[in-house]
Amino acid sequence: MTDKDALDALPGELLMWILIVSEVLVFGAGLIVFLSVRITDPEGFAEAQDMLDRTAAGINTIVLITSGFLAALANALRQGGARTKARFCLVAAALLGVVFLWIKGAEFASKAASGIVWDTHVFFNFYFMLTGFHAAHVAAGVVLLVLVAWRDHVDNIEDATAFWHMVDLIWVLLFPVIYLLQ
């Protein structure tokens, strides 16, 4: 297999994959630093983590993977020529993205109401930074999904849904590290 064949085997645009790998590396580095700092104060991190709403984060995981499923289905439907169904799936995926952001916003608001802010503990420094940065990607993904539901070229949908799956992929790594590892 030549280098060109190897690159052709990759589904979608190479540039989108470079973006995906870069983003996963950035979040992966953030999680590694988070876990490294945790070594210096495991009790403090555990106490801070107990203030998080694990159920809401669990619901958000289901919301995001269901949204990812709809995006993947939209891609398959569009490639099969079913444009209207594909558009419907893209809009539904975007709406679930909005649900994710709404739950995340409620989580942030509840922290603020309890007096928990950025510098309450170093744990919350990472919590707000990593989940906030992820939420910004979700917001960008929602806009992309709506845009490609409108301008529904096969390539556009393939790239936008790949971005959306990256957001999904990052969340399934971020969720256990920030919320679950006790």
Partner: protein
């Protein structure tokens, strides 16, 4: 990518997510935190592999899939080691 394989991938992801959340609510963390940590990270690793293979289409590119699997496994093992460090040191 068939629609059926996407439905199966979604069902598996939902089941694995319920598994993670159930583990977080169980009493296992007090007795065997490392076992619980390994279980939670193994579930996350499997979810990420499903997203890469089925949602992102790497199932159709086995060489790329293997490469991503190796990197993902390395990242998950490193995170697991950092999680376990304060428990074993």
């Amino acid at each position: 990518m068939t629609h059926r394989s996407l439905y199966i991938a979604w069902a598996l992801l939902v089941a694995l997510s319920f598994g993670s959340t159930a583990l977080s609510a169980s009493g296992i963390w007090a007795q065997w935190p490392i076992v619980a940590g390994v279980a939670v990270m193994a579930l996350a690793w499997q979810k990420a592999r499903i997203i890469l293979a089925d949602y992102m289409g790497l199932q159709r590119a086995p060489r790329w899939r293997r490469g991503f699997d190796v990197c993902l496994t390395g990242l998950c093992l490193l995170m697991l080691a950092l999680y376990a460090a304060p428990l074993v040191l």
